[in-house]
Amino acid sequence: MEKRVTFKGIWLPLLLVLPQMLVTAVFFFYPAGQAIWQSLFIPDPFGLSMRYVGLGNFEYLLSNPYYRASFVTTAVFSILVTVLSMGVALYLAVLADRLIKGSGVYRTLLIWPYAVAPAVAGVLWLFMFNTRVGVVTWYLGVLGYDWNHVLNGEEAMGLVVVASAWGRISYNFLFFLAGLQAIPRSVIEAAAIDGARFWTRFRTIVWPLLSPTTFFLLVVNIVYAFFETFGVIHTITSGGPQQATTILVYKVYADGFVGQDLGSSAAQSVILLLIVGALTVLQFKYIERRVHY
């Protein structure tokens, strides 16, 4: 099997992992602990004292229709972003895989969106769809469609989904392309000589062999949609109109920093933490089984 370096004693290994542990402690365990602690209290309006409420914050949250609506919004948003960004990326990767010679240029072009910060991406898309000066809005107007994501919740959702997915396509594309290229050409040719056409080959051979990549991307993209889309949403809709695009992360920010309800905000953070934890465990369990190979 694999060769591993083994250390004698305990001190050297400890020393080697220490920096990593410190970073994790300072930037993860400490704030996470704080959040869990704070989620059990309600501070008074001036932040001078805290009242212990046990799981009161959670009870209140879960019975709050706005919070529950935000759950649904998040689910819809994450699924749409993930499916859109992975679908487009897979399509492009399959094309690139077929004409791998020209894909150097193609790949470089596709990397660009990834290098754009989410907030900047948000601004870019906002410009295009600006209700008064946006290019796309103007064209849609010419075609007879009155675009207004500031008032229309569904249009707002559509816009943040597209803007968020756009930034992920290149990342997903690279993984899909690498996954496709790792499939031995002879396996595909063996299927072809046996009479399987492109679509059959894709369905019966390529897709199953690609499943580890797909699953990995699924988890990574869902986590992305949950957390890292904050910038996009903040710049484009600020969670509006009427909370139509307020996903859980945005609500943590809105309730905690804008609404100053720190106890509730902390409780929401804890819930998010649990969701990510569950996703991660799921991913590792699945990847350990390795699907194929």
Binding site: E189, I193, I205
Partner: protein, 362 residues
């Protein structure tokens, strides 16, 4: 004897940009033949096979299967099947699904698929494994599954691209025999490519020796071994001692003098020679006789034993000619007569002009 060949290539060439990988190759394979293409790595074997399969289009030439040109026929419509270099079994399917894949593509109904898959697995000696995953098999068994996957479609020609390459030596020896038996059992035309001469010699009815994109010689194993028609074949098929020499006279056979100054007599093979030509001379190790005390007639010399490579029936001596300094590999006779020979001893050696093959050099 005028059967339509199962496979025929007419002046097939293939260029990649300005590199010619296959040059004007022509051959015909009669039905039921085990036909091997033997050549060093990179000589264009795979390229030729991929053209026959239909994955690559020849730059020029024609390709016929059962007498019909298939240049415009896609791979899945040609009556050929292929065993790939690394077998290319589908890892996510069980063995039955692997073997039945082609039948499913043809829309055969489930019951028939099941029956045919079981029958072909029977024939390759893998009864009752249809429901097992591919990875539960050994290398040799996977090999047989790969062949079963092809044979279930009853192709006219089965192409095999170095299928034994990934196996270890012992298993390879075993699979050589097994492949030959499978071919006889199915009575299908096999076109087998390999860089391993012993695979080709053992299994084939006909062998084509390929070098730098051209066929040097096509013939039976014996023909290639005893009557190689080019210097490349003489050097590549079987072992041989090789000398460089220059022709002195062509009166009775070829008389020539080696670069080391020894005069040799030989038989011209291949192209016609002229006086003064540079030539390559080949002598098989088993053509050389040994003697302890008496000097031998013909091409002869006396040498010191430099090394003894003991390998049972295939043992060899490495001698150093005392006058010319040339190295000579000699097969150790199996009579045991020379078993007490040791490094440093001196022996006489010699061989017949008839077993000295002379080719025009470059």
């Amino acid at each position: 004897m005028f059967e339509t060949p199962d496979l025929e290539c007419r002046d097939i060439s293939k260029s990649f940009d300005d590199f010619k990988a296959v040059k004007d190759v022509s051959f015909a394979v009669p039905p039921g033949t085990f036909f091997s293409i033997l050549g060093p790595s990179g000589c264009g074997k795979t390229t030729l096979l991929r053209m026959i399969a239909g994955f690559q289009k020849p730059s020029s030439g024609d390709l016929l299967i059962k007498g019909r040109s298939v240049l415009d026929v896609p791979p899945n419509k040609r009556q050929v099947s292929m065993v790939f270099q690394h077998l290319a079994l589908f890892p996510m399917m069980n063995i039955g699904a692997n073997v039945g894949f082609g039948l499913r593509q043809r829309g055969v109904n489930r019951a028939d698929i099941k029956r045919q898959v079981e029958r072909v697995l029977d024939r390759v000696g893998l009864t009752g494994v249809a429901d097992r995953p591919v990875d539960s098999l050994s290398g040799g068994q996977k090999q047989r599954v790969a062949i079963a996957r092809c044979m279930v479609l009853e192709p006219d020609v089965l192409l095999l691209d170095e299928p034994l390459g990934a196996l270890d030596l012992k298993l390879r020896e075993h699979m050589k025999i097994e492949l030959k038996q499978l071919q006889a059992e199915f009575n299908t035309t096999f076109v087998y490519i390999t860089h391993d001469q012993s695979e080709a010699l053992v299994m084939s009815d006909q062998i084509a020796v390929m070098n730098r994109g051209v066929f040097e010689q096509v013939g039976t194993a014996k023909e290639l071994y005893y009557e190689p028609s080019t210097a490349f074949v003489a050097g590549f098929v079987g072992e041989a001692n090789k000398f460089r020499a220059r022709v002195q006279s062509l009166d009775a056979g070829v008389q020539m003098v080696t670069d080391q100054g020894q005069v040799l007599h030989g038989t011209a093979a291949g192209k016609a020679l002229a006086k003064g030509d540079a030539v390559d001379v080949f002598v098989r190790p088993e053509a050389v006789r040994l003697s302890r005390d008496t000097a031998l007639n013909g091409n002869a010399g006396q040498g010191r034993v430099e090394n003894i490579l003991f390998n049972g029936a295939n043992s060899q001596l490495i001698l150093r000619d005392q006058t010319t300094g040339a190295q000579m590999n000699v097969a150790l006779p199996q009579t045991g007569e020379f078993r007490d020979l040791s490094v440093g001893d001196t022996v006489h050696f010699g061989w017949e002009p008839a077993q000295t093959r002379v080719y025009a050099g470059d």
